[in-house]
Symmetry: C2
Subunit: 375 residues, 2 copies
Amino acid sequence: MLAVGLMSGTSLDGTDAALVEITGVGPTTKVKLRRFASYPFASGLKTKIKAALAVETSDVEQICSLNFELGAIFGAAVVKICAEAKIAPQELTFVASHGQTVYHLPRPDRPGLVPSTLQIGDPALIAERAQTAVISNFREADMAVGGQGAPIVPYSEYILYRSPEQTRILQNIGGIGNATVIPAAGELSDVVAFDTGPGNMIIDELCRRFYHEEYDRDGAHGAAGQVNQTVLQKLLQHPYFARPFPKTSGREDFGSEYVDQIMQQFDLGADDWVATATALTAQSIAQAVKQFATAQTELIIGGGGSYNPTLVKMIQAALPKVKVGIQEDYGYSSDAKEAIAMVVLGNQTWHHQPSNVPSATGAKRPVILGRITYF
Amino acid sequence: MLAVGLMSGTSLDGTDAALVEITGVGPTTKVKLRRFASYPFASGLKTKIKAALAVETSDVEQICSLNFELGAIFGAAVVKICAEAKIAPQELTFVASHGQTVYHLPRPDRPGLVPSTLQIGDPALIAERAQTAVISNFREADMAVGGQGAPIVPYSEYILYRSPEQTRILQNIGGIGNATVIPAAGELSDVVAFDTGPGNMIIDELCRRFYHEEYDRDGAHGAAGQVNQTVLQKLLQHPYFARPFPKTSGREDFGSEYVDQIMQQFDLGADDWVATATALTAQSIAQAVKQFATAQTELIIGGGGSYNPTLVKMIQAALPKVKVGIQEDYGYSSDAKEAIAMVVLGNQTWHHQPSNVPSATGAKRPVILGRITYF
């Protein structure tokens, strides 16, 4: 059957839509990407979402309205990708929509608050625009059984990448690096997922400060510089790397403040800083995943970092016995990965089957994720 | 099959739960109330909800958390009513939960806002507590096709009260009065629903000001006073009563400010004020429904106002040809009516059938309301 997966991430770039052919359920699931597109948000909408994300600038009226406004935009994305693929939206069995996360509170630090998460983009609006059933709200049920509601891609990764002979490690490199380890011939309950530490966050921040560039395009600065081993070893003593699994990291660990601090502490040239930060990401990934690497292990890199060849080479060098590749080497697409994952999760919901990964989220047990709005 | 309907109204009193036996679907639906209970909110929770309702005091973190907190409370209500009825929650086929409305914006009056509604009390939390499927979010789909998302009880009223010989008018008297007219042998599309004007709102406000009482218990003050016909005729000139259908009213028409205004304008004794306000409610109801009354018409009064015999007698006097009764005369319960309606709507969703009433909400067409969280 045909389905569209919709993903709208924390970067607020826009709506990712994946038109997918999917058959089977659970371990028999097979997917084929028919088309992928990214529809950018208008700048006014981006401003609205930013206001809704922050405690200081948010209110109930704005959230109520934006939930409907985003639903209509997600619905339009479905109509658009179907038009581009020359199919009628009615040919879809379902749309699986992640929604826009406006708040995620897995461990509240004030009394009166409970663990919770909030994704908006109302499914009724999507259903009306796309004239099809919509599956949405994939994080709540996991949190209802004590999980963190994240990560939610490991189920899809397990289904699509597991192998009887190879241990496969899916290494995503966005701002933060996160790994999903799928042991050879492992069960879903053997899957481990955690944040490895910085992804592109430090590299990007250095590029902004030194060159007013958003990121190290093609890893050019990293390649031109020299890794300072003394500084690298110091940076690897960051307490995050020694913390036990499962663990999550963020801007509070490796963001702008951290970059201020290390730049005060050490004196390096611009390219050398980028090279050393690239090595930090590579080494922290290698050290974290090494313990899971058996004789037959593949590390499959996705996310923006997979397009930085300097970084990919450094990871390969740090893991000589592991076969290191990128999503595209396996016929997949980094860009489409999360939108495809939504279809895999939606397919489970459609068949009333669970799709959280308790070993990754900390949930007490497997649960059916999402809810269905019928059309 | 067995189902529980949950309703949590704008009064913020607590959770109404109705345990119902339901069979059939659409016109063949039959319901039998097995048990009804009202579980009050703790005062701290009431304060939290009030803060979340107002633009000034609401924010995204609070709404995110309260959505989960209320879900758990609704789930606990299901567990409780099942325990009281000595059944296991697993015997339920579904729970149908209205949720707590924190914002309803059918006609936004500022640019940048879209028609929308927001009910919270996450169904995943209810499903986890009650160990059963949950149907929720009954207003969004109607709004997605241009309706106002309200009223949503008329479908249930049509199913439960329609008659081949009698025109039945369901008159609810809460703060505001609202009527659902079901013509004899009428189709669903013949159903008309609208707000008749003030319900208990003015009477209650007068009782608070004169006697520090929350309402006119047993209609005692109204019965002791004298209706001032001159004042009554003036009050009946309020522009709301002349507005065409469909129309909705609220606190902005007949709230505290309105009471300030009429008390400045006219000088009456306390009981005479209550008697005159009671007559205003009675007359406005009678004038509004008169045009629908045929030879065989019954007016069935529900809501708090049905327990005010002075008001009921005045309505009967104003409609001499109509048989006036209260819900209890028909073996129903005013208190349980909305929670039962949720089960009727949930049953439609369960069978993938529509249950909005376009002639009442203004929607472009019938749609399936609600979404299903499977357990």
